[in-house]
């Protein structure tokens, strides 16, 4: 399982890889332009044709474009997903031929580890972005304080479990952090965002953005003034028991040690990441239950779809605004509360995750909860692939933030509403009711 080539600076035969990329790009552009014209001339739905045409051209070249041109099928999610995945496979195959000794090609354990890392961090990214998209879908405001909620989540766990009540169960610390973040979100929404709903503000969206910017700076510098800039961390919440499955096997399928989980004797996942990812999934399920099975959740969804109709049905949209902002902040705080056992924490820690959340929300589609989660996983996987596969070690890790931006740019070019976005997601900006 040792790599065949270590840290080499470039692809072995770049002409193969870049040749395929050029071919895919040319046919992708042609497919997008030609099929849009074709669907438009036949008065068919063109909302998805740019993306489907580009993927058909990129994945199958002239054949794909010709088939869609001739048959002009309804461009369902299944077709576009198939074409998109085929394009990804083609890129991977070209890379394998061009650089056969790259770790991503030659080293199966490495590949599995990078995939798992990408998936785990992607779940956490997606979870954090979920809060941002929830706020947007109800209030129509992009909260620029999202990173600071993430930061105070971690800081509160540290203070609760280490400073204020040393030795207290970490679960109480996490719950306490969530409750406090929820309260801060609710109070802020009531105190600062209500003028948006009353019509007193000419530009409610801009007002909301500036108000959340203000909250972000206030929280960050308030914490820095109180705490200082020394990074902190909490001990991992749970130690795994020493366990193997099957027991006594030379290469167990699952093996746990205090700080690690090893799968198939190859993929190692650190305890804090695993706990964070599993908790995110459980809370996501709880959130879905709340949104789809309870009156409150249905009311939230109703407000996100049509505020006036929801108000007529007896739902108080303003109360839903408060609930959405508080819930969104609490979700970010929970992500922070789970990761403070994995990363060093300081008042500025929220900046990069917040930026990444904005990327994910736009990528997944503004206001779309599944879009945010899947967008997060996608960004996590793309980052892991970029970090692991780019041959030049000096560049592979330097460009981590850029990988998500590349995906975002392509998505915006080909599908401006994002992967799961609604065309008019929350245009009401919290008004009404």
């Amino acid at each position: 399982m040792h790599p065949k080539r270590n840290g080499g600076p470039s692809v072995q035969t770049p002409e193969i890889f870049w040749g395929v990329i050029l071919w895919m790009t040319v046919w992708g552009v042609l497919g997008s332009v030609l099929l849009r014209r074709r669907y438009f001339s036949r008065d068919l739905d063109t909302s998805n044709v740019n993306f489907a045409g580009a993927m058909a051209g990129a994945a199958l070249g002239p054949i794909g474009v010709a088939v869609l041109w001739a048959r002009t099928p309804k461009l369902s999610g299944r077709i576009t997903t198939f074409l998109g995945l085929t394009a990804v496979v083609l890129i991977a195959a070209a890379f394998s031929f061009a650089d056969p000794e790259n770790n991503c090609v030659a080293n199966g354990a490495f590949r599995a580890s990078q995939f798992t890392n990408g998936l785990i961090i992607g779940i956490i990214y997606g979870f954090m972005a979920l809060g941002l998209t929830l706020i947007f879908s109800i209030l129509g405001v992009v909260s620029f304080a999202h990173g600071e909620f993430y930061m105070i989540g971690g800081m509160l766990v540290y203070y609760i479990t280490v400073v204020w009540f040393p030795g207290v169960n970490p679960l109480l610390g996490v719950m306490g952090a969530c409750c406090l973040a929820f309260c801060i979100g609710a109070l802020f929404e009531r105190a600062m965002l209500t003028p948006m709903y009353t019509g007193k503000i000419d530009r409610p969206v801009e007002y909301g953005i500036l108000a959340t910017f203000g909250l972000a700076f206030t929280l960050q510098y308030f914490v820095q003034a109180l705490h200082g800039a020394s990074p902190v961390k909490v001990q991992r919440y749970i130690d795994f028991p020493r366990w193997e499955f099957p027991a006594g096997a030379e290469s167990p399928l699952i093996e746990t040690r205090r700080g690690n989980l090893t799968l198939f004797d190859t993929v190692s996942i650190s305890n804090p990441r695993f706990i964070a990812a599993v908790t995110c999934i459980l809370v996501l399920l709880a959130l879905l239950y709340l949104l789809h099975r309870t009156w409150t959740g249905k009311a939230l969804r109703a407000v996100s779809q049509d505020r006036e109709a929801a108000a007529i049905a007896g739902i108080d949209p303003n109360r839903m605004n408060m609930l959405a902002f508080a819930l969104g902040g609490m979700i970010a705080a929970l992500a922070g509360a789970l990761l403070v056992q994995a990363f060093s924490w300081l008042p500025q820690v929220g900046a990069i995750p917040a930026m990444r959340s904005f990327v994910i929300v736009v990528l997944g589609g503004l206001g779309s909860l599944p879009g945010a989660f899947i967008g997060g996983i996608l960004v996590g996987l793309v980052e892991a692939a970029g970090t692991g596969c780019i041959p030049d070690a000096q560049k592979a890790a330097s460009y981590i933030p850029a990988y998500g931006m590349i995906v975002l740019t392509l998505t915006l070019l080909l599908r401006p509403t994002g992967l799961f976005g609604r065309r008019f997601a929350s245009g009401a900006h919290g008004q009404g009711g």
Binding site: F110, N117, G388, A393, A396
Partner: protein, 414 residues
């Protein structure tokens, strides 16, 4: 005609006097000295706060000792955020709005590289405290001095120490992609190569939090040693995540970032950081000068820390050496301060500070490179090792070089 000419002369003289008086007033008490420190992200805030505290102690000590030219001094702290563009702006502000007569401090090399041109163009002397990039003094600018070591010197110590590792064949260097990290990593790699040791450099953005993918790549490299040239909490994150993945300081020889010198914070953030090596500028606390010991006592009391970091001592000295230079110059004029600095002999917390080369003598006269210009030649560079869990950096073993060695290094995984 004569009367009007005389009147004109009188008026001109009065105007000239008024201008002179105005200038004198601008230099009136308190005399302002700028202090650069990163106090916001993405800069290394923990380092910036240490430097700020040290510079404030310097201000208090100097004023308690009678001040400068009969005036108190005021250290005007400026937050560089570790960003070059911000550094240019704050240097401009310090000079044009705050009216500083000299500037000390400075943590990030990129800040030094960007801001030195502004200060030099405006004739304001700067003594950089902790900016290592060789070009800062290598550009041979009249007003720029440095008491931090050169990047090439610290890199030399890194690779020379690595070559003492028995059976070493491959080193992974993790660096931040800054004016400090990039040249330091390249010089370290070059030095290792001269000793027949292969190396791979991974560079990351300053402030990187998640190293999972990078750690996997480093594992795939199967290195015999890891050298970390990353500042701030990013180094803590990397070291602990490497430890979680089985390639940390307890698994293979591992040199972590310099911020581990604040050992309380280090152990909080890197609980599995035992046996890590750390580069330290300056002699161990047991060999501190009298001034160094006095400063350490005040600093620990003020900050509640268990150790005094080398960059805090450098920050203190940068202000103190400027204060002495202003006193010796007898004026706040930039050129006069430069002359005084070139001839100074200052007993600082780090030792005796002086500058061999500059306008009075070019480094080339002694066959030295340009980087020796206005460069303090004597900063001690040591490698320490946390040989016990929870150990304070001031009590950690000095394992390199021989001149300062207090214990043999513990090589793990041998």
């Amino acid at each position: 005609m004569k009367t009007s000419t005389l009147r004109r002369h009188l008026m001109l003289s009065a105007a000239a006097f008024a201008l002179g008086a105005g200038a004198a007033n601008a230099q009136d008490c308190p005399i302002k000295i700028g202090g650069l420190a990163p106090l916001s992200a993405p800069g290394t805030v923990v380092g910036g706060e240490a430097m700020r505290d040290a510079m404030m102690i310097a201000e208090a000590d100097i004023n308690a000792a009678g001040g400068v030219l009969g005036c108190d001094i005021e250290v005007v702290i400026a937050d560089t955020e570790g960003l070059p563009e911000r550094a240019i702006a704050v240097m401009e502000r310090l000079i044009t709005q705050d009216g500083v007569v000299a500037v000390g401090g400075g943590y990030h090399s990129s800040v030094g590289v960007a801001s030195k041109d502004v200060a030099d163009a405006r004739g304001i002397p700067v003594v950089f405290a902790e900016t290592w990039n060789d070009t800062i003094t290598g550009d041979k600018q009249k007003h720029i001095f440095r008491i931090a070591p050169l990047s090439s010197w610290t890199s030399n110590v890194n690779w020379q120490f690595a070559l003492t590792l028995p059976g070493i064949e491959k080193v992974v260097i993790l660096t931040e992609n800054t004016d400090y990290g990039i040249p330091a990593s390249q010089e370290t790699a070059k030095g290792l190569e001269s000793g027949g040791v292969a190396s791979t450099i991974f560079s990351v953005d300053i402030g990187t939090q998640d190293y999972a993918g990078i750690v996997e790549r480093i594992k795939a490299e199967d290195p015999d040693m890891i050298i970390t040239l990353v500042t701030g909490e990013a180094a803590f994150n990397f070291t602990q995540q490497a430890a979680d993945a089985g390639i940390g300081p307890m698994d293979l020889p591992f040199q972590t970032g310099q911020d581990a010198l604040e050992s309380g914070t280090y152990w909080t953030n890197v609980p599995d950081g035992q046996y890590a090596f750390v580069q330290r500028i300056g002699v161990p606390e047991s060999q501190f000068t009298e001034k160094g010991r006095a400063f350490a006592a005040v600093y620990k009391e003020k900050t509640g820390k268990s150790d005094v970091e080398s960059y805090a001592m450098e920050a203190y000295d940068s202000i103190a050496v400027l204060a002495q230079a202003i006193n010796e110059a007898g004026t706040t004029d930039g050129s006069s301060i430069v002359t005084a600095l070139e001839n100074i002999s200052h007993e600082g917390t780090l030792g005796r500070i002086y500058f061999d080369y500059g306008l009075k003598r070019d480094p080339s006269e002694d066959g030295k490179g340009d980087e020796w210009w206005h460069q303090w030649p004597d900063p001690a560079i040591t490698i320490i090792q946390f040989q016990e869990e929870g150990q304070a950096s001031s009590e950690a073993a000095i394992v390199y070089p021989e001149a300062y060695k207090t214990a043999e290094p513990i090589w793990v995984n041998q």
